[in-house]
């Protein structure tokens, strides 16, 4: 409690800060709102609203190239997020629960992908995959995405593991649970929300990537962002609007899911 408690709010409130916060939110959302709004526009124009229609969505769903790219993106994100989550979980268990020599170095390696600018990752991967003879395409995309997703999956998983009382595992041992049963019955179920958050974060980060995918995708393994980018050569068409709005919808679904997980967690 504040000593000057009669109007303690005044102390924390600074003039204009609330206004700035409102401006920030408007600044972040206005473009997205307009994008979605114009995607329902009946006319070809993207500057004048000519009535509501779903025709551009119809065109997007009829477009096999977009469908293929979307499928590639989702498949890639699911595989990369899953692989990254499994590896990150193993790493988190070792880092949080065990004595690891040179822990600082291991930690630095785990976080390394976060420190590398995306464009550097992109061209380094391009150089690597084309010069070791692995070639470009879906396989290389999976490997590259898995790699940069690891730290994103690792963060929520370690956070969850660190906040878990180690006495729970000790108690399970005391109550005759062998190591693998301790893991299966205590550690894993309690870690589950962290695993879900980690997986979702990795999934969205993979889906978000454009530059790495554009360097590595070969013919037939184009991802949705890479395809949308190629559509931009014709300018911002209503189809671009519609497919972009669908990506906004996908993000919203992921956000809601992770929000529900967070609520359950607390």
């Amino acid at each position: 409690m504040s000593l000057l408690d009669t109007r303690s709010k005044d102390i924390r409130n600074l003039p204009g800060f609330g206004l700035t916060a409102g401006f920030t939110v408007a600044f972040l959302y206005a473009p997205i709102v307009f994008l979605v709004l114009y995607s329902f526009n009946d006319g070809r124009s993207i500057s004048r609203l000519d009535g509501v229609s779903l025709r551009w969505y119809g065109q997007v769903f009829a477009n096999e190239e977009i469908g293929g790219a979307a499928l590639n993106s989702v498949l890639l994100a699911v595989i990369a997020a899953t692989l990254a989550t499994v590896m990150a979980t193993a790493a988190a268990l070792a880092m949080v629960r065990m004595r690891v020599r040179r822990k600082a170095a291991a930690y630095a390696v785990l976080n390394f992908p976060l420190m590398v600018p995306e464009i550097v990752t992109a061209i380094a991967s391009l150089i690597f995959f084309s010069s070791v003879g692995l070639g470009l395409g879906f396989g290389s995309l999976v490997v590259a995405h898995t790699t940069f997703c690891i730290p994103f999956a690792y963060l929520p998983i370690t956070a969850r593991l660190t906040s878990m009382d180690p006495a729970l595992e000790t108690a399970a041992a005391d109550l005759y649970a062998r190591p693998w049963r301790r893991f299966a019955l205590i550690t894993l179920p309690l870690l589950a929300p962290g695993l879900m958050s980690g997986w979702l974060l990795a999934f969205i980060v993979s889906l978000d990537d454009f530059i790495i995918s554009s360097m590595l995708s070969g013919p037939g393994s184009t991802t949705l962002p890479v395809h949308i980018y190629s559509m931009l050569r014709l300018g911002i068409t209503p189809e671009v609007n519609a497919v972009s709005s669908l990506m906004v919808l996908a993000s919203a679904l992921v956000v809601i899911t992770s929000g529900l997980i967070a609520r359950k967690q607390s």
């Binding site: 924390r12 700035t20 206005a30 997205i32 690597f128 949308i228 956000v255």
Partner: protein, 288 residues
């Protein structure tokens, strides 16, 4: 083998082989000779780094100083720097405001500012272009209200790029600042007022120094991806003004000069690591 090694091997191995090793190879490529259609010839050459500063005459091989690439490098640093400062100017009050809300509202506000980050960056950049364009809603409104005669040049320039960088990375500034303000002991502010500081003085003498680690973290998280950013200059700049990220990308697409692209990204990587190293060392010193 010990269990902890088995658990750590896949993740560490993956990152070392598929991220660290490729970057090392990239550095190696930067001192090789470019092949005609991309790739390299295994002959050592410092040409990529020379090219950064000089132009080689095709006929007599003489070198003349050329600041074009340096300018791009400088512009990248400048744009990222301006974006960082702008993010700070609007991010700090926003983070402060959120951190001082009652518990229930806090998470709502926090969600509001982080949700856009979950939307694909390309989509967000396209959306920004959509409203900045000559035919976009901003210019439309201004003109229909009779405030401007013709469209204001909002898109396809450095202003648009800056705005794009700010909107891309603003959540990275807000989150660490929020975390720092959240931990801030507000009785310190009361103590400052009690000791005759006014609002402004208390803010600059007490609050800012304590929030410094958060400021530095947020600044780094905006500045580093800002320098190498690709989409904002490409889409919002209309390809007219290059930044480092685009210059690097070009070497692997149209121009096909791999060693030069490798040299540029080696420089970008080096700048990044040096910045991180300095900050980490300062943080370690302050902890001690």
């Amino acid at each position: 083998m010990k269990l902890h090694r088995i658990l750590l091997a896949p993740s560490l191995g993956t990152i070392l082989i598929f991220m660290a090793l490729p970057i090392a190879i990239t550095t190696l490529f930067s001192v090789l000779t470019p092949a005609q259609y991309g790739g390299v010839i295994w002959e050592p050459s410092a040409e990529a780094y020379i090219r950064l500063l000089f132009e080689r005459d095709i006929f007599d091989d003489t070198l003349t100083f050329n600041a074009d690439y340096l300018q791009i490098l400088g512009r990248s640093v400048l744009q990222a720097g301006i974006a960082t400062v702008l993010c700070l100017i609007i991010g700090l009050p926003t983070a402060w405001f959120i951190a001082t809300r009652p518990a229930g509202q806090k998470s709502l506000w926090l969600m509001l500012v982080t949700v856009p980050y979950w939307v694909n960056l390309l989509v967000r950049t396209i959306a920004l272009l959509l409203i900045l364009r000559d035919e976009g809603p901003i210019n439309g409104t201004l003109q229909s209200m009779g405030l401007t005669d013709g469209p204001l040049p909002l898109a396809y320039n450095n202003f648009a790029i800056g705005l794009g960088l700010v909107s891309s990375f603003l959540p990275f500034m807000i989150l660490p600042l929020y975390a720092a303000i959240e931990r801030f002991d507000f009785s310190l502010l009361e103590a400052a007022y009690d000791l005759h500081a006014n609002r402004r003085k208390a803010f600059f003498a007490v609050v800012l120094p304590i929030l410094r680690p958060g400021l530095i973290a947020g600044g780094l998280l905006v500045f580093i991806p800002g320098i190498g950013s690709y989409l904002a200059p490409d889409i919002l700049g209309g390809g007219k003004t290059l930044m480092l990220g685009n210059l690097i990308g070009m070497q692997f697409q149209g121009s096909r000069n791999w060693p030069f692209g490798a040299a540029l990204s080696t420089i970008l990587m080096a700048v990044t690591l040096v910045a991180l190293f300095i900050v980490a060392r300062r943080a370690a010193r302050e902890d001690a």
